[in-house]
Amino acid sequence: MKFINKRNIIMALVLLAIAFPFVTQNDYFIHVMTLSFIWMIGVYGLNLLAGYTGYLSLAHAGFFAVGAYSLGLLTVKAQMNFWLAFVLALIITSILGFLVGLIALRTKEHFFAIYTLCVGYILYLVIDKWDSLTEGVRGLIGIPAPANIGPISFETPLSQYYLVLAILLVVILIVYRIVHSLTGRTYIAIRNSEDLAQTIGISTMKNKLEAFVLSTFFAGLSGALYASFIRFIGPDIGNIVITFDLLTYLLIGGIGTLSGPIVGTVLVVWISQQLQFLQDYRMLIFGPILTLLVIFYPRGIAGSIAGWNAKRAEKKLAKAQLDERFSQSTLAAENQVKEG
């Protein structure tokens, strides 16, 4: 059954994503899917920090908003060139992330969650109240779609779909490489036991800060894309509700896994679409799901699958006993992916 291996599944998914617009021929579905991709990028950021490094930042939506508003203000009020503004938005968000992380990461667990909760709220409040800059509750309108890259324009839903998809694929590649490298191992070590990580010589502060800035970078990227895609933004995009939405996608999909963000976001967004009548009350269903999930299936969908695979692999290992099979067992252990 070598046909169903990771490589082929990934390629199939990518092809599916590319073919999607032609299959559905429906502008609304393309719109929803593009939005899902945008959220996914944010979820990957959340996952890197919470899933792999073990720090749950409740300020995530705040940085999403910073990215969105940076892009919005630079293009609308400062009339800056789109892509220049885009890059600047990412830089601004990352620098802010660095400064916040510097202080926030000196706190642990409960304090970190509460601290980031407050930072997120401060960001939201500032955007809401500083209306001379941000237009406050009135919202920022007229944000341009992405500018042309050479001859390619991005005015249509279709072109925007592929732009976002392309960026998403790059993001996934980057996260993949990080997670499967020594850096990824380091983050996971910190998540599993920060004290022990320090004992074996890992500079936990440096690595945590790195992961934090990365997560804010992805949040900002997601926000900037959102602003350009939806074309108008209000302070509510910095509301804690967004953080909770992303957290829900991540948990259902599988926290600390590579495919979790994809599975969770697509699943929840599309189920919410089906339950349109419940739109505002979707948390009536997803709230309890989140709680039940964390009690019974904290690893989410992708995580549980990875867990079963790992158990199967371990059973195979238990059968190998001879010294010669030592090289086999280490190879099999190597193939056990960093999924949790």
């Binding site: 202080i103 601290y115 407050c118 957290l247 505002d280 009536l284 709680t291 904290p298």
Partner: protein, 287 residues
Amino acid sequence: MEILVQQLFNGLTIGSVYALVALGLTLVYGILHIPNFAHGALYMMGGYITLMMMVQYGLHYWLAILVSVIVVGLIGVLMERLVFYPLRHAPPIHDKIAAIGILLFLEAFAQYVWGADYQTMPTPYGQVIQLFGLTFTMQRLLIIIAAIAVMVLLYLFLKKTYTGASIIAMSQDRDGANLVGINTNRVAMLTFLISGGLAAIASSLAAPINLVFPGMGQLVILKAFVIIILGGMGSIPGAIIGGYILGFSESLGATYISNDYKDIIAFILLVIILSVKPTGLFAKGGH
């Protein structure tokens, strides 16, 4: 000068509400070492149930509050049994996420049942009285008196009764308490009951001067967290003193600095304190 006194009185009012909410939060943290992120939802439910009792069933204000205290207290107990107890051995991140799930559910529930509009709670104490040449509303006076009464009752309960003492014992050393025969499960449930009740009282007292809406717990709970971090997680005097300090700061800040940004005062305080002392103001070692 008049304004100053008026604002100090205001601070006392706001502080009373904050102190009650923070007390509930700190009691739970003290025995379970869990920051209950769903506490804001308990606060919100408290307000709505009181409102519903008054408006739909015509109950008198105090009776409605009593019903609310019982119901929200029970919701708290359910939370402890169904969610926090199963998660007692899980990594701390799970408690927080589970609480968030409950919070989201309850907020959506409130919106579903009572609508998203901002509603007013009619109060039988809308009169205005004059004292020492200053104007106070009865309601605000009532908040202060009721809050202090509750705190005194709580203090007496904790210090003078066996059950109260067992809560204190458990907050100091859970395993030790277990060893001396204290039923830690019962104590946990009781603490959540009290915690919910406190939130309900705070919310019902404050509702007539604020509004009732699904998100009413969000801001209050954030500030309550700030308070218990400043005052010491698990410290009862800390919650009370912290609540009043914040109440005064906000009241004076709103008048003399800026009304728009008064909510930020709490968070700026937190940012400053945690930047300097990442373990909180009164770190008790261990952890």
